[in-house]
Amino acid sequence: MEFVGKKRKNQTLGNVFKITCLSFVAIIQIFPLVWLFDFSLASSNELFTNGLLIIPKKIQWGNYVKAFVDGNFLLYLKNSLLINTLAVIIVLIISIMAAFAITRMSWKLSPVVRNILLLGMMIPIHATILPNYQIYNKLGLTDTIWALLIPYVAFSLPQGVFLTCSFMDSIPRELEEAALIDGCNIYRMLAVIITPLMKSSIATVSIMTFLNNWNEFMMASTYLSSNTWKTLPFSVLEFTGEYSSNYAVQFAVMALTALPAVLIYVLLNKHITKGVAAGAVKG
């Protein structure tokens, strides 16, 4: 009895220690964001304090109104959502098609094509910015949605193909063969039989592609000049110039811009964790 009691005591002590360690790391990871949110509610004069956090005399929601309106928040959010969704869909379609040809069909060049498609994973994305700028300029693609869609798809595709190939290997062939015997052609069979079986792969590829491109701004700021297609990071990028002395509003625009991604993450936490884990371990 005494032994069990001692063990239990040790266990609770161990748990307290564990929670303390984890909380310490959590504070380091999350406190800067709490600080950001706190400062975004204050007025600029209150920022020059010696304490860690401010209790604003009056909560300055006006900072957010300014950030929302002058930061073109809605337009940029809409652009981000549209461009990223399109990129995800295109990556999925191309990946499933290519993965099927590579893993299922019999042709000599299959491993070569596979390796070429995967090569993109090794190429640093920023090394293509300079020449792509020239190419898009010559073709009149700068400042259009294509200037973002093409590179976003191209640099998410290798991972998409890789993941889709490894998932496709694990689904049985009987169904598709039955469909083909019934006279279904390959394209239809891919759309109607294979794609529905690939749900978990589709989720993983979508999440990885979305995470890859959602926060991208180097290419966007190089290839775009007008507001038409600018994405969410621009709310922050443009604001810091415009309101360079009004720090509180800058804090607000940063908090506001971070919000959609954090909200989506907290809501879909489980799926995203699973997706990233599957993608990262296999990738």
Partner: protein, 291 residues
């Protein structure tokens, strides 16, 4: 059936979109980079062929070597600081049951979903000498000097802290998944043998995590090489070129110094370095596995 599966036209139509994307968005620009790298193109006007001049200049360019050194520093920062912390945190988290586990996992990952643009500006504020969080924390501990975190000598370390902080959740999550995949029977057996936590961690967890660690280390080294966005917004390579990284340097050369040809030469070298290191790391880890 076999005929259906080896129809050349069907195969071509299935892989064509992928291959065309690769050719148009990756291969063609690399070829163009190679071409421009041999010229003195400024971005406008005509390009004159200068042979290997750009590459020769690059070899004696101090900023290029600083950029490489910074990548190595960052890689060490990832491998020696971020990853050990991530593994230990993941191991502790794994032992925790119930709601707390999910909560911590969620919190750790949040910085990862926030745009680099926000992260960079946020840390610029944290480092701000006037109202920054870091100096205020130091004041609480009685250190009243205002430190210029992004000033000369200090800047590279401040940049490393941001990058290590930002990527922590990602690394933690991958290690966490790896630890979750370890067969619990092994832990039970160790518990019966009376092994303590430390022994279990050193003798079971770490050895079984070896493949995951190898993948993560490879990814960390490559991420250190490819680093650009955070540095671009936080310091833009400055002061001087102290916090320069290759990607940021080539961008700056092309768009701020109007040495477009030179920038492209750096792009080519950058790609070659990334390819060589990726292949070398894969080879190294594969050979070890065979042994």
């Amino acid at each position: 059936m076999q005929k259906l599966y080896s129809n050349k036209w069907v195969i071509l139509s299935l892989v064509a979109p992928g291959l065309l994307t690769f050719i148009f968005a990756i291969l063609a620009p690399i070829c163009l980079s190679f071409y421009y790298g041999l010229t003195d193109f400024s971005g406008l006007g005509n390009a004159t062929y200068v042979g290997l001049e750009n590459y020769k200049n690059l070899m004696s360019d101090a900023a290029f070597w600083t950029a490489l050194r910074n990548s190595i520093l960052l890689a060490f920062g990832f491998i020696l600081i971020q990853h050990p912390l991530a593994i230990i945190t993941a191991a502790i988290l794994d032992k925790l049951q119930g709601k707390a586990e999910g909560f911590f996992r969620c919190v750790y990952f949040i910085p990862n979903v926030i745009s680099v643009a926000i992260i960079a500006y946020l840390w610029k504020f944290i480092y701000n000498p006037n109202f920054g969080l870091l100096n205020n924390i130091l004041k609480i501990f009685g250190y009243n000097k205002e430190v210029n975190w992004l000033g000369s000598g200090m800047a590279i370390w401040s940049v490393l802290v941001v990058l290590i902080w930002h990527g922590f959740g990602w690394g933690m999550l991958i290690y966490y998944t790896g630890i979750k995949n370890i067969d619990p029977v092994l832990y039970e057996a160790a518990a019966i043998d009376g092994a303590n936590t430390r022994t279990v961690f050193m003798k079971i967890t770490l050895p079984l995590m070896k493949p995951v660690i190898q993948v993560n280390v490879t990814l960390a080294i490559i991420a250190a090489l490819k680093q650009m966005e955070t540095v671009y917004l936080l310091t833009n390579g400055g002061p001087g070129n102290e916090t320069q990284f290759l990607a940021n340097y080539l961008y700056k050369q092309a768009f701020s110094s109007f040495k477009y040809g030179y920038g492209n030469a750096i792009s080519v070298v950058f790609i070659v370095i990334c390819l060589v290191i990726t292949v070398a790391l894969n080879k190294m880890f594969q050979e070890k596995e065979v042994k």
